[in-house]
Amino acid sequence: MSDIYEDLRPIFFPRSAAVVGVSQDTWKPGSSMLRALVRFGFEGPLYAVSARGGTLMGLEVYPSVQSLPEPVDVAFLFVPTQSLIDVVRQCRQRGVRGIVAFTGGFSETGTPEGRALEEELKKEFDGSFRMIGPNCLGVYSPGGGVTQHPGESYSRRSGDVAFIAQSGGLSEDFARAAPNFGFYCSKVVSYGNACDVNEADLLEYAGVDPATNVIGMYIEGPREGRRFANVLRDVAPRKPVVVWKGGVTPLGAAAASSHTGSLAGSAEVWSALLKQVGAIQVGSFEESLDTLAAFHFLPGLSDTRIGYVGAGGGNTVVAGDASYRAGLPLPRMSAETQQKMAAFLPPVGSSTVNPVDVLAPMPSAPELKGILEAMAGSGEVGTIIVDRIVLSKGLRRLMHYADQAAVEDEPWLSDIPIDIHRSAGVNVVVVLREYLDPNGDFSVEAERLRLREYYQSNGLAVYPTVERAFRALGHVIGHNRRGGSS
């Protein structure tokens, strides 16, 4: 395993940890970090450090890093700006191998004092330890029992997606949102000012991390641009790297300069670089998550032929537009396949061409099964998007479709997309629309969320709109057709 993997092991998989800068006020950051680690389930010895000593949450509080009974693998530092350098020095002298420095007040302030202090801090780096930060929200590594501040409620479950962020807030949002998209994280890192460990190191780490199959990044400006470009060239051909570049407009670039002190650089050069190394550029939080989900669920997808099965004329028209914009124009079904599907469709008002319009969103289970099997068995598509079909008996009752069509007792209705996905040599992607009516029936949302989780846990990607489904599939298919990540 490479040097960087071993270098960062004490931070991502610590055997012991200390939180430095706890307070008797349990709402202050050091104390809430300690609480987060305990509740998140950190299993190794955990120490609290504060000059005031005493006890906190049943733990003895050590007066200094030097007084710790062992040189811990990782120290989480919540000390004031002016003491950070001293505490880092004490950690080094005590043999601490990893530091996560949450403390702010350095180069990100844009002041000469802040920059000077950061230069002083760098003088403590002698290669005996690695540091994330300062000015960050830390790391989330569910496999190592480590979470961010404030991350005690993040999922304990590990997954195959890593997210590397030059923003604490966005790293937190990502860690919280990932399970909604059906995937889980191997590592999430907010790397702050990147005094030591920077974007290139973390990308290199994610590239060799056996737990990570897909990599997402939010970046404003790199600390080591040339090295970052070289690491991207190395990693992107092996694992998909989805990059959300912040500060691509004059206003965003100005904000980046005051946020992380970053030179945002030329948006055109960034786009050129990402294209030429085979990384995938995205432009928003949703697009990042959608695209990472698509790489997670359908990593090798390269077949451009998509079948769309939806309900209602307008919906099929906008699906056609979305497919075309994503570079995945829907292929017309053969006469034979159309004939097979027609047997399960109403004679008037439906369409079998692709986009397929089933007319109303509540086909019976045998009808839906017949349509999807005919399409899947045709060999004419590689993926089927099922949109706007109400996919459970419970949801049909809640949305009053039961009043319009007799709902037989067909508990297997929900399983049809899963069965097709598993058996027929095609992938199925489900679109479950979110209505989110604050005055509506919350049990509709609850049932929709249950269905979403059911599909995701059975290996199907789920999107809230057809546009987002096509856009995400377009990224994966385009990437794999250009040579992809093998």
């Binding site: 641009g225 470009a229 650089g265 030429q276």
Partner: protein, 258 residues
């Protein structure tokens, strides 16, 4: 095997290019003259116009003997970067008389309007005809990622529509292929509306050589502008290499000061 051969040729080319640049720096130049820039391009195997620098009518006669007609005459000075705008270019000279008159006029006007300029002489070069399209190939340094290569079609495509493609060096063959094709102007090179098709492979070759040049000479150069690069017709139509007709290179003097 071929890689080793390429490396050897590259190293010699690099030494030749650096010799040109260092001589220019020693003279206090901030930019290369067109002729010097062409020597740097030549050192990297990028085809340039056949040309001679002359200072008087007897040298002009020798140059015309070598080049024939028609020819173009331009001021050759590292201090005069916009020759056409300054009226210091004479196109399509078809006789010795025309060439001599142009030589006198260009030298006189240059001395009049740019009395402080370092003037190497007048560049006499072949007039390139029969090309299919004018292209622009540039190099600029990005503060984060280093040298970048730009490609676009000349004239309004670059200046009005900003229809350019960019890549960060080093360029792969795929990059060179893709960047030409991603410009909207590519359709002209591909024979839109019955136009003759251009030898696109020859342009790709220039882009790859520019990438090598930009990497090798990164400490010396801040900007390169080859404008125009004349694209010749495709091989099937008799093929002619893409040819650099004008070239501008700005020197990085940060190593020279202090």
């Amino acid at each position: 095997m071929s890689a080793t051969t390429d490396m050897g040729a590259g190293a010699i080319g690099r030494d030749q290019a650096i010799a040109v640049i260092e001589a220019a720096l020693a003279r206090g130049q901030a930019a290369l003259s067109e002729h010097q820039a062409k020597q740097v391009l030549t050192a990297y195997g990028i085809p340039v116009t056949e040309e001679r620098v002359v200072r008087d009518s007897s040298e002009l006669a020798g140059a015309l003997g070598d080049l024939g007609f028609p020819v173009v005459l331009k001021i050759d000075s590292p201090d005069i970067l916009h020759k056409t705008e300054a009226g210091l270019v004479a196109l399509d000279c078809r006789t010795t008389g025309e060439a001599e008159a142009a030589l006198d006029r260009i030298l006189r006007q240059a001395q009049e309007h740019f009395p402080a300029a370092l003037i190497d002489g007048v560049l006499v070069q072949e007039m390139v005809t029969g090309s299919v399209a004018e292209c622009i190939v540039g190099m600029k340094k990005d503060p984060q990622f280093g040298p970048t290569i730009l490609f676009g079609l000349g004239g309004i495509f670059v200046e009005v529509f900003e229809d350019v493609a960019l890549r960060v060096v080093p360029l792969s063959e795929t990059d060179a292929r893709d960047m030409i094709r991603e410009t909207r102007g590519f359709r002209l090179l591909a024979g839109a509306r019955g136009r003759p098709k251009a030898d696109v492979a020859a342009i790709e070759d220039v882009l790859l050589k520019m990438s090598r040049l930009a990497l090798d000479l990164e400490p010396y150069l801040t900007e390169i502008d080859v404008n125009p690069l004349m694209a010749g017709p495709e091989q099937a139509a008799g093929g002619r290499p893409a040819k650099a007709v004008d070239a501008l290179m700005l020197l990085d003097r940060s190593g020279q000061e202090g």
